[in-house]
């Protein structure tokens, strides 16, 4: 078994044993990301997304003892969410079209000028980004979301992480490089 995900495995083990502090960490680190993932898979259907998000977490709490650390805990949660979303599409007799791309290739556009709104609003691209974030180490993910999604200052993040301004700048730079690497693989099947 890989030791890469030992932290996740330990966290899952503690939550399974009923440790509420561990559960608080688990929920704080994953709840919003899983919701974002679901809402984009459902192309912005918020009400349905909330329902599926609740089902996902309830199922995850019950199945947590079966998590063996074979991937990141967040990816494991996405797996459960993806199944729930597929069931939703099937129940409603609709095709899961969130992952079907459009003719314009975002791989080329990412390196050129500013990304057009038409591409930026594409659910498939957002889903890929959220999936890619799950594969990053926890501190990379936290820093990227705090800086660019929550638009917090570098000083603020440095205070939260107990690091210097320079260290956080460097962390953000490494996190973006890592995200770019993961994302380029994931965009191949867009």
């Amino acid at each position: 078994m890989s030791t890469e995900y030992e932290d996740d495995l330990e966290l899952a083990g503690r939550v399974s044993r009923g440790d509420e502090d561990a559960f608080n960490t688990f929920y704080a680190h994953h709840a919003d990301l899983v919701f974002g993932f679901i809402v984009h898979l459902l192309k912005g259907k918020r009400t349905d997304a909330e329902e599926i998000w609740q089902d996902t977490f309830l199922a995850a709490i019950r199945r947590l003892p079966s998590y063996q650390g074979q991937g990141r805990l967040l990816s494991w949660l996405y797996g459960i969410a993806r199944h729930k979303v597929s069931d939703f599409w099937r129940r409603n007799g609709m095709e899961n079209s969130a992952l079907i791309g459009s003719p314009r290739d975002p791989r080329e556009l990412m390196d050129s000028g500013p990304l057009p709104d038409e591409v930026l609003n594409r659910s498939a691209l957002r889903v890929r980004l959220i999936e890619a974030l799950a594969e990053l180490p926890g501190d990379y993910r936290l820093a990227l979301i705090a800086r660019y999604a929550e638009e917090r200052s570098v000083e603020d993040i440095a205070r939260q992480l107990g690091r210097s301004y320079k260290a956080v700048e460097s962390l953000l730079s490494r996190a973006k490089a890592a995200l770019r690497a993961v994302l380029s693989c994931r965009m191949e099947d867009l």
């Binding site: 009923g18 709840a31 809402v39 609740q54 709490i61 556009l109 990304l115 930026l120 999604a149």
Partner: protein, 118 residues
């Protein structure tokens, strides 16, 4: 730092911002609601499973009835009380069952008290 940023980096930042925009954010109340539900679920799974009380009560009642019937059938033959228990082992079960009721009640009262003080 901004001066060194490539178009890719700027697009990445834009994409992160767009992916976690207001349409993809949870309402705090919804977030707290599920939190409370999950904590309750977690506490429920942590609680040790108890032997089903209904089955225990049914089994106890059946044994009690069997024992009473058995003792009565011996008593009808005119045997004296102390001998009934000697002749019929089911007679002992009557005593055990009679003792079980106050003991189990006491256990329930004590457990309720310990839950209340927890």
């Amino acid at each position: 730092m901004n001066q060194q940023e490539s178009p890719y980096d700027r697009n990445l930042e834009k994409l992160i911002r767009a992916s976690f925009g207001p349409d993809a954010r949870l309402a705090p109340e919804t977030r707290n609601q599920l939190y409370r539900r999950l904590v309750a679920e977690l506490r429920e799974t942590r609680r040790p499973k108890e032997f089903p009380k209904g089955i225990l009560a049914l089994f106890s009642s059946l044994v009690f009835l069997l024992a009473v019937t058995s003792v009565l059938s011996v008593w009808e033959t005119g045997v004296q009380w102390p001998q009934i228990f000697a002749l019929n082992p089911f007679g002992l079960l009557v005593l055990v069952n009679l003792a079980y009721l106050p003991i189990s009640s006491l256990v329930i009262i004590l457990r309720r008290k310990s839950w209340a003080s927890a």
